[in-house]
Symmetry: C2
Subunit: 433 residues, 2 copies
Amino acid sequence: MTPLRIGLVGLGNVGGAVWRQLRTQARLLERRSGRPIVIRRVSSRSPRRLEELGISKELWSPEWSSLTSDPQLDVIVEVIGGIEEAKKIVESALHNGKHVVTANKALLATHGQALFELASRQRRHVLFEASVAGGIPLIKALREGLVANRILSIHGILNGTCNYVLSRMKERAVEYHEALTEAKRLGFAEADERLDVEGHDAAHKAVILTALAYGFWPSLENVYREGIEAIQLEDLCYAERFGYELKLLAIIKGHPDGQVEVRVHPTLLPKRHILASVNGPYNAICVQGDVVGETLFYGPGAGGNPTASAILSDLAELARASSDEAYWERIWREDHGSVRLKPMEDILSRYYLRLTVEDRPGVLAQIASVFAHHHIGISAVIQPEGHGGARVPLLVLLHDAQERAFRSAKKVIEGLPVVEPPAISIRVEDISG
Amino acid sequence: MTPLRIGLVGLGNVGGAVWRQLRTQARLLERRSGRPIVIRRVSSRSPRRLEELGISKELWSPEWSSLTSDPQLDVIVEVIGGIEEAKKIVESALHNGKHVVTANKALLATHGQALFELASRQRRHVLFEASVAGGIPLIKALREGLVANRILSIHGILNGTCNYVLSRMKERAVEYHEALTEAKRLGFAEADERLDVEGHDAAHKAVILTALAYGFWPSLENVYREGIEAIQLEDLCYAERFGYELKLLAIIKGHPDGQVEVRVHPTLLPKRHILASVNGPYNAICVQGDVVGETLFYGPGAGGNPTASAILSDLAELARASSDEAYWERIWREDHGSVRLKPMEDILSRYYLRLTVEDRPGVLAQIASVFAHHHIGISAVIQPEGHGGARVPLLVLLHDAQERAFRSAKKVIEGLPVVEPPAISIRVEDISG
């Protein structure tokens, strides 16, 4: 049988795992795919990883362009990360008639639409199972397993670093910076953690999932994004008293009027929902389909081997003979009507609010009247005991409110003489279709 | 485009949902599959459901054989349930050159091997996404999403009725029969509950998953099976004190020597494992792959619409043009070496044991010496306070022991004069690859 011939661009953590696993699982993949899948050439800036990985120097080239232009290759696997150079690699591969497999969420979130249009013109595939939720076969589940469903909503824990940090804060009762330091020490966070903890990485993945579910690529800068840097242990503990757990969530929801809300922020989830039980460096994605109801997919969202597992599944898909060349074209061309991003100020959400207030009668009445004036209902209030200072915390849980109204009410409340700013607010999500 | 022409055999709960959803989602499925998927004929014993479902009587036939032999049909969807007649339908469809889509776990667990061999000879597909875990796209995940993995183990909550009953027992602090009565009233259990609560249904699904993961069909009567009928509230509560949650679990584990253990029984799971958080009538399956690590798939395991979602995904797969006709043949023919069922007496498991003992010194020493004699380690002992009778409970948690040794030790302990039989024992599983 003719082998599927791979050019591997990038020999970092993921590239190394792809090289190793494609060798370890070679026989298994050949049996299951019907033909061998073989890495014929590799490219990386320096040859220093070759020996460690046991790659013959003859396969190596410092220039990726010699791989993307090589007529002896069928597929380019792009795992260098970053955006601009990766874009050139993918474009060059497609122009030269090759399929592409990539794990690069930043690239797809930024240039996905243009790249898939190019792939369609070239009649080649860009597969990207590894770009969202690492080893979890989520893309395939959305496109094939749930093919009979309109997607009503997606709620995802899409960043393992953030989930690890939040889990540890609660487990060990430590503040954010201590948990982050531990995460770095154990390799669950990068030296430069900003891409993760500020929510950029989760936002990249949310853009890709939005495109898959609603056929529309929101521009990254318009996606509402809040990270976990400001989360305080105190709020995790108070949330617990209301029956909630705090997670960094990507929320994607289609509305019947064609608007889609896409947002990434710390979110309080009911403890009884299974997503609230996802701890440590894991990812989990809850998908509501109009036929199936609620499904959830859980697993390792990052790491060399889990990412390699997803990349190899894409390669197996390319290796399997398929006469359905138009498959991805249909997916990207599907007519979803006029879909557009719902402005953040228009979205509805419940809210948790922690205020620092003067400890005297009448304070709650003042605050309640501000919410009443903004037509926002209060669902619960807790005044924790045992503070005994002049200033005490006051916790308020709100019913659904429009973001615009909430922001306005919050601003008024922060300006009350009996309230000491800032007011801490966290959105609450009672997941359902 | 030529439509994919379906004959639907069975108009019960699932058949009705397939009919309805295939109409509701017709445009969406056509766009995504590249061609229309149309039910051309239906068959059911009596025409009484036709009006309710809005099916024209012209499509109906009381004889399934007029569908399986109709040259104008491409696929037979079999959703009548039961074994012997369903087997004839599938065989007849395959002999007449049609593909088959089925949700019938009992049929596949009993005759799967023969039916897939027949399909292979006929060069037709038998697709069965709906047969395990209802709407969760688990079969596709195992075969395609995790294609690069050897499956190390599968731990599944595969029966929603059992999971609902166990969840309610704990939530409402009621005994088994009260929870079951409620489950029946709310439609989460059948009038005849035995197929579910005795573990037969979960065992059917375990056989199918074993075949997929290890290419070997264990005979149903050799699969160890224990139901939930004997579970007492007391044990759920004591388990909680050890940090465990009780679930009916299907456990499938491959061993390097080619033995596979396949068993269905009540199992104590560590509360921190996400599978322990699966409550209510849901299914969840934890899959350990040698590359990806741990993944979990969660969703509705039964019900008309979730099952229809899975059946429609199989139909979409058949509708997509594929030149890879040998795909399923490769899967079923994959050489897994000489795989065989591991005898139940040889498996290793941890155990929870609840004894009723005389309340006097020396009792624990006698029991501990029996375990020592059988080379079984004790990991924890709890003597709950506040009983104050002549007979008190004694709870013992054991380290890994061979089933044979454990049974023998248990028998000796039940015979001790200081112990009042029966001893209640439940297996404990600390899930890991």
